[in-house]
Symmetry: D2
Subunit: 136 residues, 4 copies
């Protein structure tokens, strides 16, 4: 029986082009970091959401709270967790830290759809459900 994954951590370094004129990472980049952690999670789970045939997984919401800034060349960790599993949707949380210091906390909800048009929400496929579980 395969192991179910509930969390995965991506280590990442801040690129120069992600930093704004206040010398801190632009707030929009955290969403890209969360997405990188999301894809790393699925890779670790042995799956790829981009390889699901007629199914797509658009985002329905995303959010971040920012606790402390990141600067150029900083190394940080982005830990993605499965926060909730619904019939058609998944909710992630993402905790970003630098040497243990809280940097930012994000969430993102995706929904499983038949790629349309029109898009139509459908149940999450078994191939996904049997690889993941909500973080405890």
């Amino acid at each position: 029986m395969p192991v179910r994954l509930s969390r995965h951590t991506l280590r990442r370094r801040v690129n120069f082009y992600e930093v704004d004129q206040a010398a801190i990472v632009h707030f929009s980049c955290y969403y890209r970091y969360m997405e990188e952690a999301e894809h790393a999670f699925w890779r670790a789970a042995g799956l790829a959401l981009t390889d699901a045939g007629t199914l797509g997984f658009p985002r329905v919401s995303s959010a971040f709270e920012y606790h402390a800034p990141l600067r150029f060349d900083d190394e940080f960790d982005a830990e993605l967790q499965i926060a909730a599993i619904g019939r058609s949707s998944l909710r992630y949380t993402c905790r970003m830290t630098r040497d243990g210091t809280p940097i930012a906390t994000g969430t993102m909800t995706i929904v499983c759809v038949e790629i349309g048009p029109p898009m139509r929400a459908v149940p999450l496929p078994r191939a996904i459900l049997e690889r993941i579980e909500v973080v405890s």
Copy 2:
């Protein structure tokens, strides 16, 4: 007595490089659109947050709910509103529509700080407060 501004609408066209391989605008770009609307708001109010001496305005939170996708070359409106004014902070909402169709709804909170280090929250300056009011 100067008019106080509570909302401003930016009209914008989707650029090719903002669209992902699902042929829709990447979810992170909405935060950049919201920031463009924010700067357009302040320009309309006769101010620039980037020109406030030793004060800075980092984001403490941001969020979006996505209702319908945008595609390459779509024209859309991003209406920024002042949702709340605190002692040291401001909260915006941003309603994005395409020909009246709801596309996405965002929020963003910024805090006024003395640029450090360390950063320290301080009251919003009068020059800002006398130009804005909460949307009714």
Copy 3:
């Protein structure tokens, strides 16, 4: 007989998220500005390269020389010109100026292909050729 277009100018303002910690526009953004000017050119010519059925137009080369920096909120012009028309390829030049001051000069070559796989270069379609001419 339709007018043939050889140049088109896009007016644009620098966004905050395009500026790096040296407080100047990141050098990679000029390629995105050139692409915006390219799409504005085709729109002005009554065409869209993204709407050409089984044909695609990948870039085979791009380049910029940087003369002076752009800063946040600067307004600038990006003039795109048709520099050369080949059997399967087009070469653009893009002159960027701010109030007449030279900012940067770019070039970009695209090739017309049948979208594969494999991609295969094919002659530029008549619908495109009869709308454009090399700048004189």
Copy 4:
């Protein structure tokens, strides 16, 4: 006597947000990859261009030729080389490959300046010159 560095290779995976609706990496992203390889080169050489006091290193030119596309999740190598060392300037080349297949070849020239205003070209500092040499 310290080793002089003339080349360094960065291994990198394509992120989802770097891919456009043609399902290939957007041509502007190669410039960001080249910059990542540049900073990795200097890190390997024990230096940071961003930590040079009153000196700055703006780009004066950049270019890429594109040989084959990269797609989401592809792993690739970006090998940065010191192509030329001038009195005030450096020229890099960057060869990008995926499993040995040529993907793209780039160049970038930077100039050493006293950060102004006005900016003024000055000789490359000895601390930099004694760590690098032109690739043979």
